[in-house]
Amino acid sequence: MKLLAPARDYSSALLQIESGANELYIGCESDVFKNITFTGRGKYNINGENTTCSFSELKDIVDMAHTNGVFVMFAANIPFFAEDISAGKKIEKAFIEYIESGLKANVDSLILGDLGTILLLKKMGIKSHFTASTFFETTNKDQIIFLKQLGFNRVVLSYQMKLEEITELAGFNLLELEVFGHYGCSFYDGYCNLKHSFSETKENYIGVPCQKAYDIFENNKIIGTDHFFDSSLACSICSIPALIKSGVHSLKLVGRDKDPQVIKTVTEIYSDCINNYKAKPSVLSDKEFITNCKSIVPKWWAKSLCNHSRCKYINSSIAESFV
């Protein structure tokens, strides 16, 4: 199982590779937009930092990654593609240029987030390794078959998966499966119209809607205040043996907009845990593995995550409420 980490520039890419990432994903800016991008996120994070790189830097990043045997995935997963009615079809043209520039930099895979993008690229005869973004909300075998027929090579499963479902889907060996390792969304990301972190500034900051406290009314009477929507699951290190055994191709860490030093810590811990398991898979019981992993996580991680309330792929009160 590979470890896939986010990068936003050369130094963060190097940081992730040195921390043990086997794969990177990264996006670039596009001149046709001011604040948004083709990458499925805004160009800037809340601190005003650019979370995309230039194409010349992308080439350097890919060369460095390939020298280290690291696979580079190019984010072109804007979750929307429509008919371009602008003069000269400049948005569609800009998207094609974006893709061609990524391929020219020798990226290994294109991450796409809308049916229209794969249809367009196929029509234009553009060949590559294609990854279907989590925006497709793939949760079942028939959707994987559909995506395979469209030309995808890999699929990023929904955040909202149970371990037994991942194991079953991986067993069909249809496409490479990528699953989320750390952090997540409370909602089905691909259907979520409460999108945030799309180049807001501190002045117009939205926050994270699913994590907020809400006053709850029933029949116009307030009955309480609670984090009613918050069901995000955060950590999967205890599930690493099960994910490896199931045949998952890649474990994805998110955080292109986060501090690269924080993501570096996350990458290091996941890399250590994966390598510890791979070193002696038959000797180490799952319980011993979990004990070893918990001994290497920093205190802040253990305090906020090792209380069994936010575990990915393990039974919890949140997972029990999955429909």
């Binding site: 008919e83 909300e137 959707q143 909202q160 799309f198 807001e200």
Partner: protein, 267 residues
């Protein structure tokens, strides 16, 4: 344009039929997010026959499915297709299998609201696109199925049209979709904001603050408002029904001719 009502609670359909069937061509039942919240196939088919006597047609909304409940829902939809019930599908995998495995050719299948989108549905789209050019804004405010390649794909799959939340900014793109021979079903009263697999009604089912909780009452709604503004940009007033989060739609279309059916909520 035909008119319909979307009734979330199947149990009240008989009462509704006794009092409210004038000027109604369709009743929609079903759910976007949970297969447990939809009635049995037998009940749906029985209702279809009762409605037929009153010249009312039935429309079934098929939920998003996972690997765990796929077969159960597929079998239901396949059976309903045999009864010529109009169906909207909210899962690509289910739609793919339905269109590939020789469903009843007379059955009418629409792409559900979870799968058709406009970025204008993003509640804070005004903030994200604020600095962008008008041509960029116009592009993103369309419905994504205005793209010719997608229209061609849907027609190849035998899909009759798409479902949408009725929005003024997207209606120009709806015209392109209908000009290309696909139909549009519009929902007038609400806009889908989000769907969670972790149903809050189940998460809070042992919480005594909530009188109506758990699966048996999931058709009832809670209303949510942000507890503390804290200088954060305006949040919608949410309506939560089961695992679906919506907000009220206040736009009244001036182009009803665009829509095959317009569904409203009876409440």
């Amino acid at each position: 344009m035909k008119k319909g009502v979307y009734i979330r609670n199947f149990e009240i359909v008989p009462d509704f039929l006794r009092t409210n069937t004038k000027c109604i061509d369709y009743i929609a039942i079903g759910n976007y997010g949970c297969t447990k919240a939809v009635p049995s196939t037998d009940k749906i088919i029985t209702l279809t026959k009762e409605l037929h006597d009153q010249n009312i047609s039935l429309h079934y909304i098929s939920p998003k499915v996972t690997q765990s409940n796929f077969e159960e829902e597929y079998n239901r939809v396949e059976e309903l297709c045999k009864s010529n019930i109009t169906i909207s599908v909210n899962d690509w995998g289910l739609l793919y299998r339905l269109c590939n495995q020789g469903r009843n050719k007379k059955s009418v299948v629409y792409l559900g609201r979870l799968l058709s989108k406009s970025l204008k549905d993003w509640y804070w789209s005004n903030i994200f696109f604020n600095g962008e050019s008008n041509s960029v804004k116009n592009y993103f405010y369309q419905n994504s199925f205005s793209q010719q390649l997608k229209i061609d794909l849907l027609k190849e799959m035998g899909v009759s049209g798409i479902e949408v939340s009725i929005r003024e900014d997207s209606e120009t793109s709806f015209e392109k979709i209908t000009d290309n021979g696909l139909g549009i079903i519009g929902y007038a009263d609400d806009i889908i904001l989000a769907l969670s697999r972790a149903c809050p009604f189940l998460r809070f089912k042992t919480d005594n603050r909530f009188v109506d909780r758990g699966c048996k009452n999931c058709h009832k709604s809670f209303q949510l408002r942000l507890h503390s503004n804290g200088g954060i940009n305006n949040y919608p007033h949410f309506q939560v029904t089961g695992n679906l989060i919506t907000e009220r739609n206040t736009y009244e279309t001036k182009k009803p001719y665009l829509y095959d059916i317009i569904f409203a909520n009876p409440e």
